[in-house]
């Protein structure tokens, strides 16, 4: 009886639905695969890259950063000016409508900003919003944002992750309502949400298209397919048109087949080893010795790993940030691969026979194992502890780790404050706890003068390299594999703008 009803509820609708699915250029449906389940479609309630993509498609931010020129243009706002160092006044666009017909005005902006800065509401991307103190309505189309101290990177955040919600709708349905039926102003509207599994976006024909273009493809159908091999199989079957983050070896094979377009593009994500210079795992921890940290820097053959395992447009970095970010000083101390020098430094530090320690990592196991092998060659026995990201992050905040292999994508924020300041301003994951570096970063984050900021960041990043607090490793690249009739050019911020995709 039970089983029969299961069959009736699951299998019958599935049979009927089978004739509707599958598409491509002919039906104007772009099929996309997400690799993991997105927990909540509201960009403020997830920390996933997939969430940023939906955020840019369904909602709008006040400003827009042109991905080609890097300049800020108006989007939901038309003009903006700093009244003083902590007050930004914005004039809003008139005549914009949300997908449900609600008119956009100052109330929506004030509601959204005050809602996400209130700790009670549990916004999960605190780094994106914790510079905002409050928002205030001046008139129906003019708002003021008050910041916690001067914050020059404000425009970058207002052009990126800070999207505007409809105040009346949001108040009426709440977080739970938004989870299944989100409403924005963006070029796509969300047609249906099966939490974590399936999202269908439809082109918004009435999009105001001031900064972002109108979408061209009618439907974006996103399914979560966790297994990379299954994603490939679906590509072969023509049931997925675009995937990204494809491992290098698979991408090579796909490119050789000639049936697909394979594009490799750099991303903002950096990989690094964080060394416990502050001695949080014990004052006698070898990493507190500058010579040991330098030895670790010399011991890792970063170029070798990039060439052999990462390929594509991945590249070695020497500074604790992504080279495309504002303020990422490149003229810093570099540590070329030199195992002999590493051994000499270790001996000088009192470890002629090396030592052993725990090595923590949460992704890219082959890369972690390659580095562990290189450390072993200079006498450092590193034991791999491979954990889930959330568990490792918790451990790093609570107890610290002697050495961790981490990565950071900066939430696609093209400013050093999103990476160096996130890890060197005495925060939970700051393994250096260097007050001089923190003070310099504070100065850079808090100044409105671009040259002054650059100078402060340059000094901070030079110190970080000199003191070898990190081993900056590489920037990641991403392989995009798409069907032959998809026209899409990836950008270095790893943001797939659905409205920029069209058919050939």
């Amino acid at each position: 009886m039970k089983l029969a009803s299961v069959f009736a509820t699951i299998l019958l609708p599935a049979c009927l639905a089978s004739s509707l699915a599958y598409a491509g250029k002919a039906d104007d449906v772009l099929n996309i695969a997400f690799s993991r389940e997105l927990e909540h479609v509201d960009p403020y309630y997830n920390t996933a890259r997939e969430g940023i993509l939906l955020g840019a498609a369904v909602w709008d931010a006040l400003l827009y950063r042109d991905p080609k020129t890097g300049t800020y243009v108006g989007n939901l706002a038309t003009a903006w000016t700093w009244i003083d160092t902590t007050t930004l006044e914005l004039t809003l666009r008139q005549g914009v409508k949300f997908h449900n017909g609600e008119a956009f005005d100052a109330d929506d902006v004030v509601f959204t900003l005050n809602y996400v800065v209130d700790a009670k509401n549990g916004n999960k991307s605190q780094t994106n919003t914790n510079w905002i103190k409050s928002a205030e309505k001046v008139d129906s189309f003019k708002v003021r944002i008050h910041t916690n101290g001067p914050f020059p990177a404000a425009l970058e955040y207002l052009a990126g992750p800070i999207i505007i919600q409809p105040n009346e709708y949001y108040t009426a349905v709440g977080q739970q309502g938004v989870a299944t039926k989100p409403i924005g102003t963006g070029p796509y509207r969300m047609e249906s949400v099966e939490p974590g599994k399936h999202f269908v976006l439809k082109r918004n024909p009435d999009y105001f298209a001031a900064a972002k273009p109108k979408a061209t493809i009618e439907t974006i159908d996103i399914r979560t397919v966790p297994d990379a091999n299954t994603q490939m199989a679906e590509l072969f079957n023509g049931e997925i048109d675009l995937v990204w983050g494809v491992p290098a070896d698979q991408a090579d094979k796909m490119a050789k087949m000639g049936k697909f377009q394979v594009v490799n593009a750099p991303t903002m994500r950096v990989g690094y080893l964080s060394l416990d210079a502050a001695g949080r795992t014990g004052a006698k921890n070898p990493m507190t010795d500058l010579r040991v940290r330098q030895a670790v820097n010399y011991a890792v053959n970063r170029q070798g790993i990039v060439d052999a395992l990462m390929k594509g447009t991945s590249a070695v970095i020497n500074s604790a940030c992504s080279p495309v970010q504002f303020g990422c000083e490149q003229a810093v101390m570099t540590y070329a691969y030199d195992p002999a020098k590493a051994k000499a430094l270790l001996a000088e530090a009192g470890y002629p026979n090396g030592f052993s320690l725990d090595f923590y990592a949460y992704r890219d196991r082959p890369l972690a194992e390659a580095m562990i092998g290189m450390l072993a060659e200079v006498g450092i026995t590193a034991k791999l502890n491979y954990m889930q990201y959330s568990a490792l992050r918790e451990k790093r905040i609570k107890d610290g780790t002697p050495i961790s292999f981490m990565t950071w994508g900066s939430n696609s924020i093209s400013d050093v404050s999103a990476v160096t300041s996130a890890f060197f301003r005495m925060g939970g994951e700051d393994d250096a706890r260097d007050p001089a570096v923190a003070a310099l970063l504070e100065k850079g984050d808090g100044s409105v003068d671009a040259d002054e900021r650059k100078a402060a960041y340059s000094k901070a990043l030079t110190t970080i390299a000199d003191k070898a607090y990190w081993v900056p490793l590489w920037i990641y690249s991403s392989n995009y594999v798409m069907g032959a009739d998809v026209s899409f050019t990836p950008t270095p911020d790893e943001l797939i703008r659905f409205y920029d995709i069209s058919w050939k």
């Binding site: 909540h40 999960k124 780094t127 966790p226 297994d227 199989a233 679906e234």
Partner: protein
């Protein structure tokens, strides 16, 4: 019989409660939910506020009973991550898992019992060897590899079934085979062993001496007696299958309860994990109970104990 059932039922309830309490305590020991909920870059104050808001600062026992009371009335709370009611989410995902579990078990029984019977009927012949081969391969092949090979052959090369998803009923075929094949060896070997035992019994010789058709002796007389341990084993295995297979659900993008459990563990989503653990253990306990009762009905000697 009624007394027997009541006793078993009481025991099952106790086991369910114990499992849920142990898992509740272990989950709280494993990680601090406040840190993961507060998100990236959260300050100590925000984390403390989350801890207070969700009541993580209360004693463990208080939190457990609070949860249990609400769970008993069907309210499993709101998922920390999906921000939707856990009961609705689980109700939406369990049918997928139950469907492939039931199909997989059906497949396993259809494959394992006939081959097991045949292997026992022709012991140490090529038939027996072939059955052994099927069992060994089923035990040895990892599910993820087997699943991918099936996808490559039947979906990519032959185009007969979809590679993933359940948009069409054909999407259930490959998961059924992978999950079912995994359960096949144990059932087959137990059937074979039971049959060998029974076939050497006197009444079988009598039945054959009477001139009964050989097939009818095998399946009607012998199998009925040999199947009793198989019922217990199949019930336990079905309990496992209803707990979801992370591997199978992830390869075929099925989004069932097993995959949901895996995702909630990696995200410290306590309410979802708690609900799933309770439901999975209920399945397991329920099926074991069912097997006990079924066996007691088949064999009156068991009722005495």
């Amino acid at each position: 019989m009624l007394k027997f059932i009541a006793m078993k039922l009481g025991l099952a309830l106790l086991v369910a409660l114990t499992v849920s309490f142990i898992s509740f305590s272990l989950l709280y020991m494993a990680g601090d939910p406040a840190i993961s909920m507060a998100g990236e870059g959260a300050s100590a104050e925000v984390i403390a506020a989350v801890r207070q808001q969700y009541g993580f600062d209360r004693p463990l026992l208080v939190q457990y009973f609070d949860w249990l009371m609400r769970a008993l009335s069907g309210d499993f709370g709101i998922s920390y991550y999906f921000k939707t009611p856990v009961s609705a989410m689980v109700a939406e995902r369990l049918p997928v898992t139950m469907t492939i579990g039931a199909l997989g078990m059906g497949f396993a029984l259809c494959l394992a019992i006939p081959t097991g019977v045949l292997a026992a009927a022709f012991p140490n012949t090529w038939v027996d060897r072939m059955a052994l081969g099927i069992a060994v391969v089923g035990q040895a092949i990892p599910s993820f590899w087997f699943g991918l090979i099936l996808i490559v052959i039947f979906s990519v090369n032959l185009g007969l079934v979809p590679a993933s998803g359940t948009r069409s009923w054909t999407g259930y075929i490959l998961p059924m085979i992978v999950l079912g094949y995994y359960a096949t060896p144990a059932i087959m070997r137990l059937t074979r062993a039971g049959m060998l035992d029974v076939l050497s019994a006197d009444y079988i010789r009598t039945a054959r001496a009477k001139g009964l058709h050989w097939g009818s002796v095998l399946f009607k007389h012998a199998l009925r007696n040999a199947i009793i341990p198989v019922v217990s084993l199949a019930a336990v295995q079905l309990g496992f299958m209803f707990g979801g297979s992370v591997v199978v659900e992830s390869i075929f993008a099925l989004h069932g309860a097993g995959f949901l459990a895996w995702e909630s563990i990696s995200r410290n989503d306590l309410p979802t994990m708690q609900a799933l653990i309770l439901i999975f253990s209920m399945f397991y306990i329920g099926f074991t109970l069912l097997a006990d009762i079924l066996n007691a009905w088949l064999d009156p000697r068991l009722r005495a104990g």
